[in-house]
Symmetry: C2
Subunit: 312 residues, 2 copies
């Protein structure tokens, strides 16, 4: 049976106009669950991973607003909370859809830690904005009192805390996830890129950082020996000249061409760049194929009928 | 290899005088991890479960205090978050201790749902207080606006939301947990009694309720086919005439005597009652033995040198 890691982007999970409520989150989980069920029905072994941007943002904001009464938890702990929150919703929604379709596939959420290099240069130069927006005075105060690194947000929107985004290199729970997926369990794992940990001698120590969800998905796919990596987002695939009149969906992209275009900065550093990098990295590392596609096209993309295929 | 479920009480995890900070939570996790390592070193297969009272209380309070800005999540979602938070800390602390002792035992946290009967009488009569204290006026407002059931707290401490505490009857993830523990993985699961779900036809629906952590541990122990259930708390075991000059630690308690004393109301409905009930229920249901002991005596209690043994 072919084994596939499905990476659900924050943009795929939450859609424009979605409200910030539990009901909206359940609807998003349901949408994602339908797609995972489509794929699982084709008899793939499936590991699901997902972003956590909006969810951990809400948790951080709650921590901030309640901080006079409840000591705030650090980012690594909040990330673990978000894995619990999103995993619960996704797995329950999947259970619903599987039952409705008469599918008998167990689902489990495994809390996941992701190893990052302790000497990653990102630790010297934190650039990933997280959590609430502050005034300049508040930002300065948190810098002093809590040791936050802060930076102005684009467009005069205020200031935000910035944290490092180091490159992941392995998934602590990979042996456990591999075991379960080989037994037919659909495993939800490495949510939000996993909780980043560094090795201090033999110890694993959680750090206040954010692992890119797509790069983490590539490492997860390698570590669980997946054949395929399916990155689902809110656009149809990789476009040439995206956003211009000449934009053209690429049905196929070799790793070589992907690297070349990445190096040329064609995809920007925002959303599509890391996805292509993750896809290229997975295939260069021995993965059979990676696909970038729209959430709704998930099963069709795996069958070769939608999205952009990245291969050697 | 003998298989044991270890239930860590909230009172065992957090000690008096512990502060409400991440640092204190890490110290508590470390204390618990040492005990689990003592037991794992004796070559038991281990499933760890734990309370979540203080942790989910903090999350609920954060949700409340931030509610003007961030829509609060319902109790079931907050419970899932607390499983992520505590599981992360426990598993990281265990990893540390295992490495320091040269033990090679993987640890994983599995998000857990617990089935409760949709017609449990507790749903008609919610009595379990959760979350922040309110003034009478606030309580009345939340009753009206959010449909909360509320009740005055003892000792004029204010009002609190009350939720049902239905009796658990099975663990949704038991097959997954069983598989992992049989492979030597130490599994953290069913934190805070698991997220309670009811069956609506084929669907599992999360409910705003609290499952007693010890009763859940008994079901978990049965469902994962454990030989033993070890309930760790902050007292040495089951006492006769507890709190009087004549108090006497019981080294052994038969299920029959346990039932009799429970029916006579000897242990109160607070903390020890549910522990004894869980122990008796596990052994009556076919479990070999249950032990109630102090956290620090964990390994000695399993070896028969501390705590109260509950058996046929």
């Amino acid at each position: 049976m072919e084994r596939v890691v499905i990476a659900l982007g924050g943009n795929a999970l939450l859609q424009k106009g979605d409200q910030d409520t539990a009901e909206a989150a359940w609807r998003s989980a349901r949408r994602a669950a339908e797609i995972v069920a489509d794929i699982a029905a084709e008899r793939y072994e499936v590991v699901v991973t997902h972003g956590n941007g909006p969810q951990v943002g809400r948790i951080l904001l709650q921590n901030e607003l309640a901080s006079a009464v409840v000591s705030p938890m650090p980012l690594d702990v909040c990330g673990a909370e978000s894995q619990g929150q999103i995993g619960y919703m996704l797995q329950t929604a999947m259970g619903d859809v599987f039952y409705e379709r008469g599918m008998d596939r167990p689902v489990a959420t495994v809390l996941t830690l992701t190893r990052v290099p302790v000497d990653d240069p990102a630790f010297q130069d934190p650039t990933k904005p997280i959590g609430p927006y502050y005034s300049e005075a508040e930002a300065e105060r948190y810098r002093r009192e809590r040791g936050y690194r802060v930076a102005p947000a684009p467009g005069d929107a205020g200031w935000r805390r910035v944290v490092p985004s180091p490159r992941p290199y392995s998934i602590v729970e990979a042996p456990v996830i591999r075991r379960l997926v080989a037994d037919g369990v659909i495993v939800i794992s490495a949510g939000g890129g996993g909780v980043p940990v560094v090795e201090e001698g033999p110890r694993l120590v959680g750090v206040e950082a954010v692992v890119d969800k797509d790069l983490c998905a590539a490492i997860l796919a390698k570590d669980v020996e997946a054949d395929g990596l399916l990155i689902l987002t809110d656009v149809e695939g990789v476009y040439e000249s995206f956003g211009t009149h000449d934009q053209r969906l690429l049905g196929r992209l070799t790793t070589e061409e992907g690297r070349r275009r990445l190096d040329a900065g064609e995809f920007g550093s925002g959303s599509m760049g890391p996805k292509i990098e993750a896809a290229v990295q997975f295939v260069e590392g021995g993965g059979k194929r990676a696909i970038i596609a729209a959430l709704r096209d998930g099963a069709r993309a795996l069958a070769g009928h939608a999205g952009t295929l990245i291969s050697l």
